[in-house]
Amino acid sequence: MADGGGWRPPRPCETYSAEWKLCRSARHFLHHYYVHGERPACEQWRRDLANCREWEERRSAEAQQSLCESERARVQAARKHTLVWALRQSPPADWHLPLPQEEKDQ
C-alpha cells in the first residue's frame, strides 16, 4: 500500500528495535537452533528498523515500499501452510448458552 496519505509504518520503530534485539539474544539463538536446527536470521529486522527510521526522518518513499514488502513477505510465510481443519464462519452457537444443570434449576 503506497497511497502516501495517512500511511505510517505497520509497527512503531521501537517494535522493530525490540524484535531485532530479541532475535540477536543468546536465549533466542538457543531456542531457534533447538527447534529448527539452524541459526536465526535477524538481518531483516535490522533493515526494517533502518527503513522505519528513514521514513520517520525523511518520509522516504523507498523506505516505505521496502517496509511494506518485508511485512507482506512475513504474512505470506506465515500463511503458506494449509490448515488441517476447516475454519468456522461464526463462533460455536452454544458457547454462551447456560450450562445444562443451570437450565434444569431454572
Binding site: 500500500m1 500511511w7 505510517r8 509504518p9 505497520p10 509497527r11 517494535t15 525490540a18 524484535e19 530479541l22 536465549r27 533466542h28 531456542h31 527447534v35 511494506c68 511485512e71 507482506r72 504474512v75 506465515a78 501452510h81 494449509t82 490448515l83 488441517v84 481443519w85 476447516a86 475454519l87 468456522r88 461464526s90 463462533p91 460455536p92 452454544d94 458457547w95 454462551h96 448458552l97 447456560p98 450450562l99 445444562p100
Partner: protein, 218 residues
C-alpha cells in the same frame, strides 16, 4: 474432552486423557453427578476449591499467555466468562484439567493442580483447545488427525498423547502426526510465533493489540 498431562517433562506425556461421555465420569466424576460434591476432611484453612479459584483468578489477571488468548477469543466471538467457562472439580487419576467441548467449559482438577505455575500451564493449555474449538470445526473424537493437531508441539509427545487415548497402532499414530505436523507445528495462532517464554508472549500480545494498524499499513 481433551485432557492436559500432569507435570511437563520429556517423558511424561502418557498422562493425557481424552474422555467420551461414558468414560468421562471415571475421571471427572462431578461432571455427571447430581448435587454438590462432598468435601472430605478439612486438611487446611482453605479448601482445594478455594485455592483453585484463587489461583485461577491470578492466572487470568496476570499471565501474559492467558491474557493474549482471552483477547483473541473475545475477538473471535468467544468471550470467556470465569464463572461460565471454568470449573474447579475433583478428578481421578493424574489429570490436571480438560476442555469439554460439549459444554464449552474448561475443567480444572482442584485436587491435582499444586501451585500457581502449574495452574498457569494448565489454563494456557486448555485455552488453546478452547481457542481452536472457537475458530475451527475440530472433530475431537472422530478424526485422530484433528486430535494430533491440537496437541502438536513436539512430535514424539504428540504420538504418545494419541496412543494414550486411542486404541490404534503406533504406526497409525505416527502417520497421523506426520501428516499434520508440518501444518500444525507452523500454526502459531494466536501468538504469531512460538512463545518460548513470557517475553515472547508479551511481544505476541503487543502485536495482537497492534493488528489493526499493522494490516491497514502493509
Amino acid at each position: 474432552m481433551a485432557g492436559a498431562p500432569d507435570e511437563s517433562g520429556p517423558g511424561s506425556a502418557a498422562g493425557e486423557q481424552m474422555q467420551q461421555q461414558h468414560v468421562a465420569c471415571q475421571v471427572f466424576p462431578e461432571r455427571l453427578a447430581q448435587g454438590n460434591p462432598q468435601q472430605g476432611f478439612l486438611s487446611s484453612f482453605f479448601t482445594n476449591n478455594q485455592k483453585c479459584q484463587f489461583m485461577l483468578l491470578k492466572t487470568l489477571q496476570t499471565n501474559p499467555y492467558v491474557k493474549l488468548l482471552l483477547d483473541a477469543m473475545k475477538h473471535s466471538g468467544c468471550a470467556v466468562n470465569k464463572e461460565r467457562h471454568f470449573s474447579c472439580e475433583d478428578c481421578d487419576g493424574n489429570v490436571s484439567g480438560g476442555f469439554d467441548a460439549s459444554t464449552s467449559q474448561i475443567v480444572l482438577c482442584q485436587n491435582n493442580i499444586g501451585n500457581q505455575a502449574h495452574m498457569n500451564r494448565v489454563v494456557t493449555h486448555e485455552l488453546i483447545h478452547a481457542f481452536d474449538h472457537c475458530r475451527a470445526h475440530v472433530h475431537w473424537f472422530t478424526d485422530v488427525r484433528h486430535l494430533a493437531c491440537s496437541e502438536t508441539c513436539v512430535r514424539d509427545r504428540a504420538i504418545l498423547s494419541i496412543l494414550a487415548v486411542r486404541n490404534i497402532s503406533k504406526e497409525v499414530a505416527q502417520k497421523a502426526v506426520d501428516e499434520v505436523f508440518e501444518s500444525c507445528f507452523n500454526d502459531h495462532e494466536p501468538f504469531g510465533r512460538i512463545p518460548h517464554n513470557k517475553t515472547y508472549a508479551r511481544y505476541a500480545h503487543r502485536d495482537f493489540q497492534n493488528r489493526d494498524r499493522y494490516y491497514s499499513n502493509i
